[in-house]
Amino acid sequence: MSQASLTGRTDGERVALIAAGSWTAERAAELETIVDDTSRRYVGARSVVIDLARLERLDTFGAWLIERLKRAFILRGSSARVVGLSEADCDLMDEVVQVNLAPGQKKAAANPILAALDTIGRGIADNGWSLVLLAQMLGALTGALLGTIAYPRRLRLTSLVHHLERVGWRAVPIIVVITFMIGAILAQQGIFRFRSVGLDVYVVDMVSVLVLREVGVLIVCIMVAGRSGSAYTAEIGSMKMREEIDALRTMGLDPVEVLVLPRIIALVIAVPLLTFIGSIAALYGAGLVCWLYAGMAPEIFLERLREAIWLPTFAVGMIKAPFMALMIGLVACVEGFEVEGSAASLGLKTTASVVKSIFLVIALDGFFAMFFAGVGM
């Protein structure tokens, strides 16, 4: 392919420019420099003639650059015209003459302080709004639940079982592995510290209370938020994007009843079960480490365990579980319904779903801690 070029000849105040070679997309960058240089070089020209007879190829990029050159001259008050167009390129040139006539819009630069305040204000308002949406969803969910209690046949049992399998049954292996490891690590750390003061056996008290009251349920909730909450948001969000939710509504079905209720019921059933399994796995891990690492016989571990905990210790963890599950489910579904058209928004809402639900689970845990302290559990 031959070089693209633009050569000029000055004759008094008249300039003749001859374009040659192929003026195409691949050469657009170098052509732009040529065109800008040329328009600067012949600033004083009265009339300019751009001759295209020696062009080999011309595409939109080349045609636009020639038009831009012509406009640059006209803008400075010189007359400019294009000659020597081949018949094939004529249409293209005609088309290009009509584009980019509207003046470019420039955004006024915003005051940085105001912009920062604006961001903060919007952030706070968004967070407040998301609490409102949570309350709204809780209300809609309660409505759907009452409706289902009145007419039990409206409960989508297949869907419920399906979700129960996904968020409950299939989460068991990963939950067992993680809580087992957490229990083992807690016990190892405990033994290490307690041994230095000669109070080995109290490690059992520490691990069992910690696991049953707090760690078991929190680890399970964080896993479930990351594993199932994000999936809920992504599913509902992509259904929203494809107008499937609108389709449900037009058929006279309540999306909350069809989509949200089975998902949240599944979570509320699954999370306590997972918490129970997780806590036991953690205690097992702790017992194993005590035996192998500190030489504490399993009988002694169990004996100590019986003394260290009583039923309310276990109950505290289990009571919290369904409420936390409800929180995760609500946040996940609210964020799902908030997804807008773009793929980026789906990603953003899925992230928000996980972050918010973990945050709210921990905040909720704080309230429970105060509550249980108040009632003496």
Binding site: T24, A25, E26, A28, A29, E32, D59, T60, F61, W64, L65, R68, A88, D91, L92, D94, E95, V96, Q98, V99, N100, A102, G104, E340, G341, S342, A343, A344
Partner: protein, 269 residues
């Protein structure tokens, strides 16, 4: 028109998924500078053929030549050079949802050409205007655009690098008749000004009558006929007769002449 060498030449193409064979020895040519309409029943494999040509679907046998080179024998770099010479308009536009209309059109330029931001913006705006959109859409995201606008932005993106050939997958589906007719005229105009070859999968009888130079018909995995609309109308094949001889089509036949006059008007305008 058919004196030009074929830009796309497909021979005995076999494509299947699992146990089903969708295309079974399909052969087709697209010549330089023509608009080829490609028809066939729903699920006949029109889109599959298109996707096989542009390399999105693997083939089992056969030969696909684009711009004179066999795609299967090319290395990555040669392939990319070929890919820059075609543009694809997907059925639902396939605009990048996280980019604005202007950024969508700029995307191929940004990836493949080294242009100054100013030139890139000017060219992208020019393309948007060429497909009949006003400069107002530049900052809008695909979710804020109507179906017809999405197709136009997608067409502008397909044309971003000034390709030699464009593939259009049902460009007028989902548009109202006025919008579809405008789109047909637009394709015709662009084909003429940019010297494009167009491979158009369509069901729109209006489009077939109004803009296509030739029509190819896919039936049971093979291309059973190819030629201008008159050949299709004269064909004895039962499927072709029911496709072009159906009630919806018969209304159009009377308008073939009319549409040709209209087409001339478009050409002259």
């Amino acid at each position: 028109m058919n004196n030009n060498p074929p830009v796309i030449s497909v021979r005995d193409l076999v494509v299947g998924f699992g146990a089903t064979t969708v295309l079974d020895g399909a052969s087709i040519d697209v010549f330089g500078g023509e608009i080829l309409g490609f028809v066939g029943g729903s699920g006949a494999g029109k889109s599959v053929l298109m996707r096989a040509i542009i390399g999105l679907v693997p083939k089992r046998a056969g030969k696909i030549e684009v711009f004179g080179s066999d795609l299967a024998t090319l290395n990555g770099r040669e392939r990319r050079a070929i890919e820059q010479r075609w543009g694809v308009l997907f059925q639902h536009g396939a605009l990048f949802s996280s980019l604005t209309a202007l950024q969508n059109v700029q995307f191929p330029m940004r990836e493949f050409l080294r242009l100054s931001p100013r030139l890139m913006e000017e060219i992208a705006l020019a393309k948007l205007e060429m497909v009949g959109l006003s400069a107002d859409v530049r900052g809008k995201y695909p979710s804020e655009l109507s179906g017809g606008m999405i197709k136009r932005v997608a067409l502008a993106r397909a044309l971003a690098l000034d390709p030699d050939t464009v593939f259009l997958d049902e460009p007028t589906s989902g548009l109202d008749p006025i919008g579809a007719a405008e789109f047909d005229a637009l394709i015709r105009t662009l084909q003429r000004t940019l010297g494009l070859s167009v491979f158009m999968v369509t069901h729109d009888l209006d489009s077939l009558h109004a803009v296509c130079d030739r029509i190819a018909v896919l039936f049971h995995g093979r291309v059973i006929a190819a030629g201008p609309i008159e050949t299709m109308l004269a064909s004895e094949h039962p499927w072709l007769q029911s496709y072009f001889g159906g009630a919806r089509s018969r209304q159009l036949q009377g308008r073939v002449l009319q549409s040709q006059t209209l087409q001339n008007q478009v050409m002259n305008s």
